[in-house]
């Protein structure tokens, strides 16, 4: 047994590149899988902890129409037994240097976790007062301004946000004895409503079950982990197949010397298990590093999307380490099952012939086509009959794998077509040789297809989401500056003041009504290009704004349309005395309530008592500050009365981009693995391509020319694969947006195309292809002519 193992191992000794390929492929695949598992588990553990802390993610909020409320409300709530948490918020600085201050009672709600920094001297936190929490970037900024004694860096906080104890916040914002809002546990909502009758209670938008909310996010991550692992397995499968094939002579000799096929299979399995365990352990360590690097981003995402708090330090837990090792071993065995079976049924005296491997691989194509058909069937069934998030992912997986399996066949067709174009003997050889290599490269190309498609798909989804989100911001904030006088009588004067400066003022009025027993906010807006140009309408009658301003229709938000089951053209009763049609449906992300928009004239007829206090002002962005200052002086307004579009937009988009930073990182990682797969495939192919290249060289092609052809081939195949990946990626994006997201978020997002992103990805893939081809090419260029000649010396 020991001897057999020694003989088997000697192969790896002679083929270190193959060995490194196998180990790194398996390790990287395991690493991504483990990293994702580690992140998921860390997040879930955090939810458990969070659930135990009073803070809970979803608190109701008591707010005041006046903006602030006296501290006595807080005392009344507390004395009634409501576990209220007082909050003071505000901004310091002006323009770009704005810092958002969030101050609350650290005694009733712990300050943000800042690992290792609070514990060293806890007493200073509260007693000295001048302790604040901020993200590292913000910390640098405020240190530079020198306005606080001690900043504790807390990566999870948003940019330009500073968290502090309420005593310090009250002082900095000069809000002595006032509160901005009071957080209330949702189960005490009724009690709070009875006590604070003058205040508005805003219930949390989502249910408090973070685990359910974030399930889709974790499923997303897990799917990514699986994808990466599948890509890695392509590498392992290819390498192991090749190693078995190359050792066929060894197997034959061993069998001829009396080793039973059973014993040989046992030894090979033992070898594989050892390799899998070794690579698995490396992979787990790498996975830990990946997870540790990604966790702050994940924590930010979960915080922003769902309000779930996750710590950003990673603990080593045996569960995900074990799952990583398990999947490394299982994956290796799965990837090598076919090769093992062939060895155990191998007739001992069959000739060793690497070409046979190629020939059989070609037969595999037929098998792959059948697989692709089956997977296509699964995809169709899951689309039409499956429901729920899981089936969305099944659909996704089936489509991706089917596409991957079809790819080699498709590429062969293309290569054949190219081969038929007559451009002389060298090109004829080139295409024939490419065809020959296809079988060896097909696995790597499939991996590349998966990675590219995933990149395109996720990229398109995120970009569509982002574009929609920005569109939504534009809808809400189409004007450059918003003024809210709060005081009814002042509205007309302010409006006159602004109009006197020659600016367009767009009044915004709203009232509550009940539509189909659901409380609905009814807006009245002016007839202006601002709305016609910007409003993100999902579906509508022709010229919807004309319908709205003629008083015959209303626009409603998507939530309302879905809830009542309305489509453009349907009849709608908004309030007694108004009947019309649904002119269109618009997206309104993040708003749980129904909303409708009427023309301002119709609104005034329906709700004559609603005063005009809010205005949008169209003004060149660089004049916003000036107008704001003039209004402040003329009408004794303060910062609370203004909303600056640019500030809010920049802030919201910053939040969004941090939210999807993790997806981007995982995307790059999977693409990196695919590049590795191409590299390793080319490397392994190069080792036994000599017999095919030698005759061409003997016919007069220089090594330099041959090397150039190698690069060209790598590029051509990559470009072909990319072309095939575009429709697959778009399909994936469509599934993500129309199936998975609908299940996960309840929003159907319009898909948008971003060809510039594709171009960037194509360039990236081409760079990867060139990089992957350079190593084998350099080796080819350095091959001594004697080695080429040896091919013929051994010729039979």
């Amino acid at each position: 047994m020991g001897v057999i193992l020694g003989v088997l191992a000697s192969h790896w000794w002679r083929q270190p590149a193959q060995f490194i390929t196998l180990i790194s492929g398996l390790a990287v695949a395991t690493a991504l899988w483990t990293g994702v598992q580690a992140i998921n588990q860390e997040a879930r553990t955090s939810y458990d902890q969070a659930a135990r802390i009073l803070s809970g993610p979803a608190m109701a909020n008591l707010t005041s129409p006046a903006g602030t409320m006296p501290l006595s409300v807080y005392a009344r709530l507390r004395r009634a037994g409501v576990a209220a948490i007082p909050v003071i918020e505000g901004r310091l600085g002006s323009g770009q240097h704005d810092i958002r201050i969030l101050a609350y009672d650290f005694l009733s709600l712990p300050p943000p976790d800042a690992p290792g920094q609070v514990d060293d001297d806890p007493a200073t936190l509260f007693r000295d007062g001048d302790i604040v929490f901020a993200s590292p970037e913000t910390a640098r900024k405020i240190r530079a301004e020198g306005w606080v004694a001690r900043v504790i860096e807390t990566p999870r906080l948003l940019q330009d946000q500073v968290v502090m104890d309420i005593a310090l916040g009250e002082e900095m914002l000069d809000m002595y004895g006032r509160l901005s809002r009071i957080m209330i546990p949702p189960d005490a909502a009724d009690q709070a409503r009875r006590i604070a009758t003058q205040l508005t209670l805003v219930m949390p938008e989502q249910a408090t079950d973070i685990a359910a909310l974030t399930r889709s996010f974790h499923l997303n991550l897990t799917a990514f982990g699986f994808l990466a692992f599948a890509v890695g397995l392509f590498i392992v499968h290819g390498t192991i197949g090749l190693a078995f094939e190359q050792r066929r002579g060894v197997f034959r000799t061993l069998r001829a010397l009396g080793t039973s096929s059973r014993r040989l299979a046992v030894c090979l399995t033992a070898e594989l298990l050892t390799l899998a365990l070794g690579a698995g352990i490396i992979g787990i360590l790498l996975g830990y590093l990946i997870a540790a690097a990604l966790l702050p981003g994940v924590a930010a995402t979960l915080g922003n999307l769902y309000g779930a708090s996750v710590g950003d330090t990673l603990e080593f837990r045996w569960q995900w380490a074990a799952s990583g090792l398990g999947i490394a071993v299982a994956g290796t065995l799965a990837a090598s099952a076919g090769a093992l079976r062939r060895v155990s049924t191998l007739p001992p005296l069959r000739l060793h012939n690497p070409q046979a491997w190629m020939a059989r691989a070609r037969a595999d194509f037929r098998f792959q086509s059948v697989g692709a058909l089956l997977l296509g069937g699964v995809a169709i069934l899951s689309y039409f009959f499956g429901s729920g998030l899981i089936w969305g992912f099944v659909l996704l997986a089936a489509v991706l794998l089917a596409a991957a399996l079809v790819l080699p066949r498709l590429l062969l067709l293309l290569v054949d077509a190219m081969g038929r174009t007559d451009r002389g003997p060298v090109w004829g050889w080139f295409w024939a040789d490419t065809r020959q290599q296809m079988s060896g490269l097909s696995l790597a190309l499939m991996a590349l297809l998966l990675a590219l498609a995933a990149n395109l798909g996720v990229g398109t989804m995120v970009s569509s989401f982002r574009a929609t989100f920005i569109g939504w911001l534009d809808q809400r904030l189409a004007s450059e500056l918003y003024v809210d006088t709060h005081v009814p009588g002042q509205g007309a004067e302010v409006r006159a003041f602004i109009e006197a400066e020659g600016l367009t003022v767009l009044p915004i009025i709203d009232a509550m009504s009940t539509v189909n027993t659901v409380p609905t906010q009814i807006y009245g807006v002016a007839d202006h290009a601002t709305y016609r140009d910007n409003w993100p309408i999902l579906s509508a009658l022709p010229r919807p704004w004309d319908v709205v301003h003629s008083g015959q229709g209303a626009l409603i938000n998507e939530q309302m349309a879905n809830r009542i089951g309305l489509a453009p053209g349907d009849r709608l009763d908004i309030a007694p005395g108004w009947q019309g049609v649904v002119a269109g449906v618009y997206s309104d992300y993040g708003n749980p309530a129904g909303q409708a928009i009427l023309g301002i004239a119709a609104h005034k007829v329906l709700f004559p008592d609603v005063p005009e206090t809010r205005f949008g002002v169209r003004i060149p962005p660089d004049q916003v500050d000036g107008l704001r200052d003039r209004l402040m002086i003329a009408f004794d307004l303060d910062a609370d009365n203004f909303t600056n579009q640019a500030e809010i937009k920049a802030f919201s988009i910053g939040v969004f981009d941090r939210t999807f930073a993790v997806s981007a990182a995982l995307n790059v990682l999977t693409l990196g693995i695919a590049a590795l797969a191409i590299l390793t495939s080319l490397l392994t192919l190069a080792t036994f391509r000599l017999p095919q290249i030698a005759p061409v060289w003997a016919l007069g092609l220089t090594r330099r020319e041959l090397a150039r052809f190698e690069i060209l081939r790598s590029l051509i195949l990559t470009v072909f694969t990319f072309v095939a990946a575009v429709p697959v990626g778009l399909g994936m994006a469509w599934i993500l947006l129309n199936v998975v997201n609908v299940q996960a978020f309840g929003w159907r997002l319009p898909m948008q195309l971003f060809p510039m992103d594709w171009l960037r990805l194509l360039l990236f893939a081409m760079v990867a292809a060139i990089a992957a081809a350079i190593l084998p090419m350099r080796r080819l260029r350095r091959t001594a002519p004697a080695d080429f000649l040896k091919v013929f010396a051994n010729d039979r």
């Binding site: 501290l71 507390r78 004395r79 005694l107 936190l125 009250e170 002595y176």
Partner: protein, 353 residues
């Protein structure tokens, strides 16, 4: 909860935890706070209220209760005031921190809850007259003064109580005219008790309402450094004797080589008090129990030869553990021997194993 505990801890402590001395940092050096004065004479209702220039202060009520079937219960209602620095300040700027502890003990279980409040925000505080002490919805109210009677309310997970206290006696000054010495080095506090309340009312245990009656004892104490730096904790007894007499006894445990500092007060049925000197009482632990990972003496022998007292005390529930920010043992006890009766025992500063 760890972070929160940390936070509240550092609020309560004047220096970082590693340097904290004695139980809950009560043995630390302090600067700027008022110090107990042997010449101070208490006045009421003024001294029912808070003394914000002192670092630490508490309003402490315990009651031994029984229901119609003779089952015994104990309740605790405590409001601590701790100042980060002396004096006042408006709203959040005030350096005063409030902490409330409430508990209910049955033979089978011990329920405990805790609340925090800050400064001068109205969520917690004490008014001397008409007397009102509160933290959130826990209340200890005596509109006509505790010398007449009071109502007491608190609750937490699994328990609540609402009790009427009727005073059958007045204020008893502990130590020398309310100046209670705590160590041989002269650490001291201002300390008085009201040990003659009769109680009626109801408790709610796991959703079941039970009518109860019994006796209650209020302790009031304020100081700025009540413990010597090497004192690690205390054992405190309040005892009701069958003939109507009361007794308070405590020992402050010091380093091993130095031994404990003992003190007490004998209170006759008429309220006449008689201080007991450090050498006149002996407290001997008889039996320890495993409580929250610590070995805690739950059975004691108390000897006060001058009063002919030689008794053994036993807890209603050995696991009367207050798993609060500063964890300690507090629960109802019964005793027999030379005398029989009931009372309350509080033990602090026993280290975890």
């Amino acid at each position: 909860m760890i972070v929160r505990a940390f936070l509240a801890l550092m609020v309560m402590l004047a220096t970082p935890m590693v340097q904290a001395q004695g139980f809950a940092g009560l043995g630390e050096e302090v600067q700027g706070f008022a110090m107990p004065d042997p010449g101070y004479r208490m006045q009421f209702p003024r001294d029912h209220g808070a003394h914000p220039d002192f670092r630490i202060e508490w309003w402490y009520v315990t009651a031994n209760l029984t229901d119609a079937d003779g089952n015994a219960y104990g309740i605790q209602w405590t409001l601590f005031r701790s100042a980060i620095e002396p004096g006042g300040g408006e709203g959040w700027q005030s350096p005063q921190v409030w902490m409330g502890n409430a508990a209910l003990t049955t033979r089978e279980r011990h329920y405990a809850a805790q609340k925090f409040g800050r400064g001068d925000t109205g969520s917690a505080g004490v008014i001397a007259s008409p007397f009102d002490a509160w933290i959130d919805d826990w209340q200890f109210t005596a509109p006509e003064g505790p010398e007449v009677g009071a109502t007491l309310m608190a609750g937490g997970e699994g328990f609540s109580y609402a009790l009427n206290l009727t005073a059958r006696g007045g204020v008893v000054l502990q130590g020398d005219q309310g100046y209670s010495v705590k160590s041989a080095n002269g650490q001291a506090s201002h300390y008085y008790s009201m040990p003659f309340f009769e109680v009626t009312g109801q408790i709610v245990v796991d959703g079941r309402t039970v009518k109860v009656r019994g006796k209650a004892w209020m302790d009031r104490e304020w100081s700025s450094q009540p413990l010597d730096s090497d004192q690690t904790g205390w054992d405190w007894f309040s005892l009701y004797f069958a003939d109507g007499a009361r007794m308070m006894a405590f020992q402050l445990r010091g380093d091993d080589d130095k031994g404990a500092f003992l003190s007490g007060t004998w209170i006759g049925p008429d309220g006449a008090s008689n201080p007991i000197g450090p050498d006149a009482i002996t407290l001997s632990p008889m039996e320890s129990s495993d409580v929250a990972g610590r070995s805690i003496p739950t059975t004691w022998r108390l000897q006060y030869p001058e009063g002919g007292v030689d008794i053994i005390t036993r807890p209603l529930n050995r696991q009367s553990w207050m798993d609060t920010l500063f964890p300690y043992w507090e629960g109802p006890i019964t005793f027999d021997g030379s005398h029989a009766g009931q009372g309350y025992l509080e033990m602090t500063g026993y280290p975890a194993r």
